[in-house]
């Protein structure tokens, strides 16, 4: 009894075999989450809730998060930027350590993250939720300086306000042009919700004006519903030009706010250029991006297919049929947290099921949705057959009003879960 002899050791080993040995002593396990948006902040909180013994550190460069969903309503003068802004106090109260500095390097071999302030953090599992970067090499003429004249407003904040101010100072009769990118990009219905709400603003405030959407695609999210609404609400104020009708913008000239296609030159009073996108830079530095610029991940755990112990969630990841939405990011984050907690405990993650619901406003009292249910199939997150789809066409006004009300409720709920 004084010393553990060989027989005791075998007994202990047998016990360990029955309950798979944790990869690391769990009380010491460290998870670092990079990015404090819908994906990262959700994941950090879910991890801490699943296992309070985990050391969870969130890396985020800004002390205030500005949410993208509903930011199109700000552009149209229907909402204030402060309604989109959230802090991280409740995450700190949950016991999450937060380092407000950009991550500048990831070493997948040493399992370390380095921050701009010199801090180096070791991790057992790293969750990257960095969101997107705009491809400044993706559209000739569209540089960071050009975005001051032709805002993208595709990361909510100062750019959102800039586009709003430009619309407000535009004279009636002006031409607003939106350039929409090819797939994939953040928020697939976003450009069309934006066109709708800008048309609403023009119709009510500057009725001789028009918004023109130049598109690098022939089809887009909720297309039938948007087009039905545009015909009914904005026949004189909104026009969409598809790829096959020459809609693809091939270059821009910021000095004159000109957008160039293969067939035409459009000189805009206000130009909103939504450029091609890719996973944010830190994903490249962590060597988890592929040639597309996005991050391939396992469909069960969202662990990178390129680097073990690094998981990628949210807009930066390739998630099969799931769109790059805040709802998806939040849902993926909770599944990822459960998988990470299981893996750290030496347990097998469950096969996940995920939901996405995505609201768009065509007018303040006119909402439409797309929803989907997803599960892994042949290694890819795939729509569950028979589920999901878009709102009905030819629906009564009451349905559109109800979806606008639910859209507001959704925003309140998800931001309360993530930041409240």
């Amino acid at each position: 009894m004084k010393r553990i002899n060989r027989r005791d050791f075998i007994a202990a080993a047998a016990g360990a075999a029955a309950f798979p040995m944790p990869a690391i002593a769990q009380g010491d396990a460290r998870v670092v989450v990079v990015g404090g948006g819908f994906a990262g902040a959700t994941c950090a909180r879910a991890l801490k809730k699943l296992d309070p013994r985990l050391t969870v550190t969130l890396i985020e460069q800004s002390r205030t998060f500005t949410a993208c969903p509903f930011s199109n309503a700000i552009i149209a003068g229907l909402r204030d930027l402060k309604d989109q802004q959230f802090g991280y106090d409740r995450l700190v109260a949950d016991g999450i350590a937060i380092d407000f500095a950009p991550a500048t390097a990831v070493d997948p071999q040493d399992r370390t993250v380095t921050l701009s302030n010199g801090t180096r953090l070791r991790y057992d599992r790293l969750v990257l939720a960095p969101g997107i970067d705009l491809r400044w090499d993706g559209l000739p003429g569209y540089t960071e300086a050009a975005a001051e004249a032709m805002p993208h407003a595709w990361k909510a904040g100062e750019q959102t306000l800039l586009l709003r101010r430009q619309l407000e100072s535009m004279e009636d009769g002006g031409l607003v042009v939106i350039s929409a990118p090819a797939n994939p990009f953040r928020c697939p219905p976003g450009p069309y919700e934006r066109a709708s709400l800008i048309a609403y603003y023009l119709k009510t405030k500057k009725p001789k004006s028009k918004v023109l959407v130049l598109d690098a695609k022939d089809a887009f999210s909720k297309q039938g519903l948007f087009q039905e609404a545009w015909k009914a609400l904005y026949p004189d104020n909104l026009e969409w030009v598809s790829l096959s009708k020459g809609g693809k913008v091939t270059s821009v000239e910021p000095a004159t706010r000109t957008l160039v296609t293969d067939f035409e030159r459009y000189r805009a009073a206000v130009a909103n250029v939504i450029p091609p996108q890719k996973a944010a830079r830190i994903a490249e530095l962590a060597q988890v991006t592929d040639r597309t610029g996005w991050c391939p991940v396992d469909a069960m755990t969202f662990e990178s297919k390129q680097q073990p112990n690094i998981h990628v969630i949210g807009d930066a990841a390739i998630m099969g049929g799931m769109p790059k939405s805040a709802f998806s990011a939040n849902a993926q984050a909770k599944v990822c947290a459960a998988a990470v907690a299981r893996l750290i405990a030496g347990q097998k993650p469950d096969e996940p099921r995920l939901i996405n619901t995505c609201y768009s406003l065509v007018a303040p009292d006119y909402g439409i949705t797309v929803a989907g249910v997803y599960q892994p199939k042949d290694g890819v997150l795939t729509d569950v057959p028979g589920a999901g789809g878009v709102s009905p066409t030819n629906a009564p006004k009451s349905t559109r009003e109800a979806e606008a009300t639910y859209a507001n409720g959704w925003f309140n709920t998800i931001t309360a879960e993530v930041f409240g």
Binding site: G15, F19, A387, E417
Partner: protein, 96 residues
């Protein structure tokens, strides 16, 4: 001597993380994107602490089209009866 073995096994068990029974069934964690886990200004009902039979009945009626819906008719079709029961039971047990 056996006691040491049992103790070691118990220790490993204790360290091996949250009990499996507490884990959310597939799909459940997505719901709180719209159904508030705590409090939020929304017409959408809370599922946490809600009687499982109520949740199951609502999901069944959404699936068959008997209950009017905006998105829930489309979402309910992504879950079988057994999957719905597991989700409803898990939410019923969530008290916070």
């Amino acid at each position: 001597m056996h006691r040491i073995g049992i103790f070691a096994a118990a220790t490993i068990l204790a360290l091996s993380g949250p009990a499996r029974s507490a884990d959310a069934p597939p799909g459940a964690t997505s719901c709180t994107g719209c159904h508030p886990a705590t409090r939020a200004d929304t017409p959408v009902p809370r599922l946490n602490g809600r009687d499982a039979a109520q949740t199951i009945a609502a999901m069944t009626e959404f699936r068959t089209g008997k209950r009017p819906a905006t998105v829930m008719d489309r979402i309910a079709k992504g879950f079988t009866e057994d999957e719905t029961k597991a989700i409803a039971a898990w939410f019923a047990a969530q008290k916070d």
